[in-house]
Amino acid sequence: MIDPQFIKSHFPVFRHHAGLIYFDNAATTQRPGVVIDKLNDFYSRGNANIHRGLYGLSVNATTNYEAVREKVRDFIGGKTKESVAFTRGTTEAINVVANTYLKPRIGAGDNVVISAMEHHSNLIPWQQLCLQKDAELRIIPVADTGEVVIDAVNDYLDRKTKMLAITHISNTLGTVNPVDKMVDIAHRKKVPVLVDAAQSACFYPLEVASLDCEFLAFSGHKIFGPFGVGVLYTRPDLIEDMLPYNYGGGMITHVGFDESTFMPYPYNLEAGTPQIAEVIGLAEAIDYLRQVDKTEAIDHVSGLAAYFIEELNKIGKSAVIASPKERTGIVSFLLDNIHPHDVATFLAEDNIAVRAGHHCTQPLLEQMGVRATLRASFSIYNTREEIDRMTDKLTEIQRFWS
C-alpha cells in the first residue's frame, strides 16, 4: 500500500509549506529531498564539464552523466542505452522528431495523424511542419467520454501517413489511451508512432521494447526529477535516421571550415554543454521511483480521482469533464457556472493548488464545449483527507456565489 504521509515526508516542500495541498502534479510534481540533494551534491562535489576534460572531476562527471542513459534505458524497458537522448523536455523531444526525422521524409500530399486530445506540444510541431510541407494534419476525434475513438484510428491512416503522434495519457482529461493497440494499428499500415509519455512516465510501465513504438518522449520534472531535462527514446533501428538538431560543440567528429562530420545519435542531439546536473538528478528521481510499486501508485492516484469524482457529484451543479473507462489521477471539472479562475483563487486562499485554464489543450476543450476547466491532478503524496478539504471548500464557494 502507498503510504502518502510517509512519501510526503520525503518532499521538503511540504515541510516549508505546512498544510499545502498540492493538486497540480500534471503541471509538475514536487521533488523528493534526494533529488534536490543530488543537484547540490553534483555542484558541490562533482562539478565539471563533460566529454572534454582529462582530469578526475571531468572524467567522473562524464561517467556519471553517461551512466544515466543506462538507467533510463532500464526505466523505460529499452534495449540499448544508445537509444536514449537527453533533451530539455517533452516539447523539445517532439520538435526534434518533427524537424530531424520527419522533415526530410514528408512532402506535399502526405499526412501526420494526431488525436484531438494532444497537448499543444504534440500538436504545433506537426502542424507547423505540415504547413511548411503542404502536408495534411489529421485529427482523430475524441468521444464525449474523453476517449480516442479507437475504431477510427485505422481510418485516419493511409499510405501517405508519415507519423502517428499520440499521447499516452491526456493531461487535461486523465484518459489513459490504449497505446499498444494504437501502435499495432499503425504498424499494420507501416506508420511510425511517437508516444507522448509526459503524463505516464511517472507510474505507468512504458516498456518501449515490447510496445515497439518508434519514438517516445517524457520530461524529468513530471516524474520527481529536475526541470530542464527530458528524454527522447528512438527505436534502435532508426537512430541512424536521426540528424543533428542544434549544431555546435560536443556533437562533432571532425570540423573544418568548409564542412563537418557529426557524432551518431544520441550525441548528435546533445550539442553544446548539456544539462549535466539535471541529467544526473534525473537518475536520482528514477532511483526514487524504483522504490515505489507502480501498480500501487496507479491504484492510489486513480483511486483518489474516483473518490474525488464521487464527492464532487454530491455537490450540486458541478460537472466532471469526460468519463473515460481508464483514468489516471487527473480530473477536469467545473463548479456551477463559476469561472475556473475564480474557483482556483478561492482554493488558493486555502492553500489548495489546482490549475485553471485550458491546460495547453485549447482545441480539445473547444470540442468538449468548454473554454476552461479546473484541473486537480494527484500524486502519491496526496490523500483522501486533502480531497475532503477541497470538496468542503468547493461547497463553500458555491454557497458564497449563489
Binding site: 479562475h341 475564480d342 485553471a356 485554464g357 485550458h358 463553500e396
Partner: protein
C-alpha cells in the same frame, strides 16, 4: 470565507459579473476590439461606435472570470458616450490606479474603480482586471483622429 476574498469578490463585482452592463454582441458596429489572454483563455470583444469624437453604445461580449467580466462591465459603463480623449484618460486612470509598481497612495479618480482595490493583493489576477482596459487604451491610441496630451 476569509476577508481577503471578500474584499476581492465584493458584492459589486459579483453583481457586475452576473449581470454585466451592455453585455451582448453588436457585430454591426464601427469597430471591434479584441481582448484575449492566451495564458488563461479569457476572450472578449468590445463593440464600439465612434461618432464625432464620441464613443457611442459600447457593448462587450465574451468569456472570462468574474473579475475580468466585472472590470469590462465597468469599463464599458464609463466610456460609453464619452468623448474619445476622456475615454482615453479614463483608461489611463484605471490602469494607473491598479498599477502597484508605484506605492504612492492612490487617488481614486472614479468611485467605480474602488471595487477593484483588492486586486492589488492578488497579483495573479491583475491581468484579469486590466485586460480590457489595456486593449481599449491601445485602440484609442491608434485612432488617428485623436491627439492626446499627457494629462
Amino acid at each position: 470565507m476569509n476577508e481577503r476574498l471578500k474584499a476581492l469578490y465584493k458584492e459589486v463585482i459579483l453583481q457586475h459579473s452576473k449581470e454585466p452592463f451592455h453585455f451582448g454582441k453588436k457585430e454591426d458596429c464601427d469597430h471591434v476590439i479584441v481582448a484575449n489572454n492566451p495564458v488563461c483563455g479569457d476572450n472578449y470583444k468590445f463593440y464600439v461606435n465612434a461618432e464625432k469624437q464620441t464613443l457611442k453604445d459600447v457593448y462587450f461580449h465574451g468569456f472570462g472570470c468574474a473579475i475580468s467580466k466585472a472590470s469590462n462591465a465597468v469599463l464599458v459603463q464609463l466610456i460609453s458616450d464619452q468623448d474619445l480623449k476622456k475615454a482615453y484618460a479614463t483608461c489611463c486612470a484605471f490602469l494607473d490606479y491598479l498599477d502597484n509598481r508605484n506605492n504612492a497612495p492612490k487617488t481614486v479618480t472614479d468611485p467605480a474603480f474602488e471595487a477593484f482595490s483588492a486586486v492589488h493583493e492578488f497579483p495573479s489576477r491583475m491581468d484579469c482586471a486590466t485586460l480590457g482596459w489595456r486593449e481599449v487604451k491601445k485602440f484609442l491610441e491608434n485612432m488617428k483622429e485623436v491627439r492626446y496630451s499627457a494629462q
